[in-house]
Amino acid sequence: MSSKMSPQKLDRVGFSLFILFALFMGYHASRLGLGTFSHPGPGLIPFSVASVLFLVAVIQIISPGEGGSGSKPDPTIPKSWKKMTAIALSLLAYGTFIESLGFITTTFFWLVFLFELSRPSRLGASLFGAAITTAICFVLFMILCKLQLPLGPFGF
């Protein structure tokens, strides 16, 4: 899948984002207090770094320079963007529910989801694979390594 954005335009978008990041961090760093060079405040170093980042990003926009081969940005939309989005959202969901539902329950359903994301897949195989993997992780991490992974409302 292609996008209408050229690599150069994508680069300029990237540099602009870095400029915004630098301005944001620089502003908040200045509010922390810069102090003096003999008694630096907590914001001096971050403000200085943000300033340099801002300058470098501005220079890059004005004069991008050349990269080596294999260094061109790729503006194409990833073919598997739906799958990647699903994985990212599943990680978000995992982080949200692990402490309320417990490690074992969350891990089992999450693995079923991930195995089912790929084709070809069979629900039975996904359920079996998720169950075995969760059981191995339980033994390996909670029993052998004694990690304090969360237990859910059902005690597991």
Binding site: D11, G14, F18, F21, M25, H28, A29, L32, F37, S38, H39, P40, G41, P42, I45, P46, V49, V52, L53, V56, A57, I59, Q60, P64, G65, E66, G67, G68, S69, G70, S71, K72, P73, D74, K79, K83, M84, I87, A88, L91, L92, Y94, G95, T96, I98, E99, W110, L111, L114, F115, S121, T133, C137, F141, C145, K146, L147, Q148, L149, P150
Partner: protein
């Protein structure tokens, strides 16, 4: 004589059931990671780090060090059999190693690769013992300005060696530094940039950031760009190289060992760059340079020796100066810090068991890796055939467990996810994550040394100009960055050699 006594002390530290087990485990995991696509030694170290909190620091270093140099061994297996480098340091091995496999000589290619790695690793450990101690003793005279200068020089070299533009490398390094300032200021204790979020009060953890950038991002990348993993169909036999193979490979192995070790010491050097240098050297000294790329055993032996030599050489600045020469070594530094140790030249004096225990483990580790890589080739080949749709959920699961168990905080999983997506997008925009993670880990040390320097000089920046080593380091850094930015053709050549 003192070195031998100390080495024996190191073996006494190593020869406990736990440490031997960790050595085996590190080597096995490192080989596995080198064989499998989708996760490198840094991601693996990040995953394992939280599991080692109750383990003594020397055992942690033995484990993580084993993963690091073990991955160099494992990466060559896929390079030779599938023409896909398991690790970036095996790229050059693909050229002649795969051609040897196509000609039915996969066995000797794998064999010479393993022996070259073993010889280079062993020689490298000798070098580590010889170089690290005098360097550490010299470094005892360094003050905060010297450390600041050396760290800036090291960062600059890493930045200019990125494959993309130097400007992007600089921006990534500065971003990494900015991210390291989130949380409590180490000098004043004032909380910075946490915006009322409790999860950011202590800053971003090394583990979620590293796992996001190098674990999750790599998985997303592999999903978008799946690599074909058809192994060469011929049965692998005759793993032991014959006399002719040894005759051709001996000098490349020794040259590669030296090149690799010396380049590993240099910031930004590392296994990958050393393999290019070694390959170029072998092609230059060969009587048949035109045959390189068609299955020359010298093209396998030299680079494989170089990458293992470099992986051991990288321990020299880490132990002697407390400065990691590359992002992967920065993870080891992070491990030391997490375990409450202050990296630097005093580490070897105050905790000799850590240095000598790690050195001793490398001798054992090289033997273990030779045993793991040759007889178990069949097993590694079978592992290569596991479909990625089965592998990636398992890798993600380990990433998640590692991120969560860092501080038993679910927000670390979310932070890892954010950095994973960010890392993927940054790679699409041709930004390399290496300078970011190195600056992120070195950031607090850099800030501290800068602060201390200004405190010593009462605010005068002249302190950076009046100390010879600091001045030389900063001038060299400025010169390197300036020439890299102003000479784009030279950059293009370096990048082409790197691709």
């Amino acid at each position: 004589m003192e070195a031998i006594t100390s080495l024996l002390y190191g073996f006494s530290v190593l020869l406990s059931v736990q440490n031997i087990l960790f050595c085996f485990l590190g080597c096995a995991l490192g080989t596995l990671i080198g064989v499998l696509p989708g996760i490198g030694p840094m991601g693996a170290m990040a995953i394992l780090l939280p599991l080692t909190f109750k383990v003594p620091p020397v055992s942690v270093l033995i484990l993580l060090g084993g993963i690091y140099y073990g991955a160099q061994y494992g990466g060559s297996t896929t390079a030779i059999l599938v023409k896909i480098p398991g690790e970036a340091s095996s790229i050059m091995t693909c050229l002649d190693g795969y051609e040897m496999a196509r000609k039915g000589r996969a066995g000797p290619a794998l064999g010479i690769s393993a022996f070259a790695s073993f010889i280079a690793g062993t020689l490298g450990v000798f070098g580590l013992m010889l170089f690290a101690i005098p360097l550490a003793q010299y470094a005892l005279h360094f003050g905060p300005p010297e450390f600041f200068g050396i760290m800036v020089l090291g960062m600059s070299i890493v930045v200019i060696l990125v494959r993309g533009s130097v400007g992007k490398g600089i921006m990534m390094a500065l971003t990494g530094f900015m991210l390291s300032t989130v949380g409590q200021d180490i000098i004043s204790g004032v909380p910075r940039f946490y915006f009322g979020l409790d999860s950011l009060a202590d800053g971003f953890g090394i583990v979620p950031v590293a796992m996001g950038l190098f674990g999750v991002a790599e998985i997303l990348n592999n999903i978008e760009n799946p690599a074909p993993r058809e192994t060469h169909g011929q049965k692998i036999r005759d793993l032991l190289p014959n006399k002719q193979d040894w005759r051709k490979a001996t000098m490349p192995i020794f040259r590669g060992s030296v090149i690799g070790f010396l380049m590993g010491i240099l910031p930004g050097g590392g296994p990958m760059i050393s393999t290019f240098a070694s390959y170029a050297m072998e092609k230059k000294v060969s009587r048949e340079p035109e045959r390189f790329g068609t299955g020359m055993i010298e093209g396998v032996a030299g680079p494989e020796a170089a990458n293992n030599g470099a992986s051991v050489g990288a321990f020299v600045p880490l132990f002697a100066l407390g400065i990691p020469p590359n992002p992967t070594m920065a993870m080891l530094l992070g491990a030391l810090i997490i375990h409450g140790l202050q990296p630097g030249p005093l580490l070897m004096a105050e905790h000799p068991e850590i240095f000598w225990g790690t050195v001793a483990s490398m001798y054992l580790g090289n033997i273990v890796l030779l045993v793991l890589n040759l007889p178990l080739i069949g097993m590694w080949v079978r592992i290569l055939k596991i479909p990625y749709r089965v592998l990636f959920p398992l890798i993600l699961l380990f990433c998640v467990i590692g991120a969560y168990s860092m501080s038993y905080n679910a927000s670390d999983v979310i932070i890892m996810m954010i950095f994973g997506v960010l890392g993927f997008l940054l790679q699409k925009m041709a930004y390399e994550p290496g300078p970011l993670i190195l600056a992120f880990i070195l950031g607090p040390l850099l800030e501290q040394s800068f602060h201390q320097s200004l405190t010593i000089s009462q605010g005068s920046f002249l302190i950076f100009l009046t100390r010879p080593l600091t001045l030389v380091s900063l001038l060299a850094a400025t010169l390197l960055l300036a020439t890299s930015i102003l000479l784009p053709k030279r950059r293009a050549v370096i990048a082409m050699e790197g691709s």
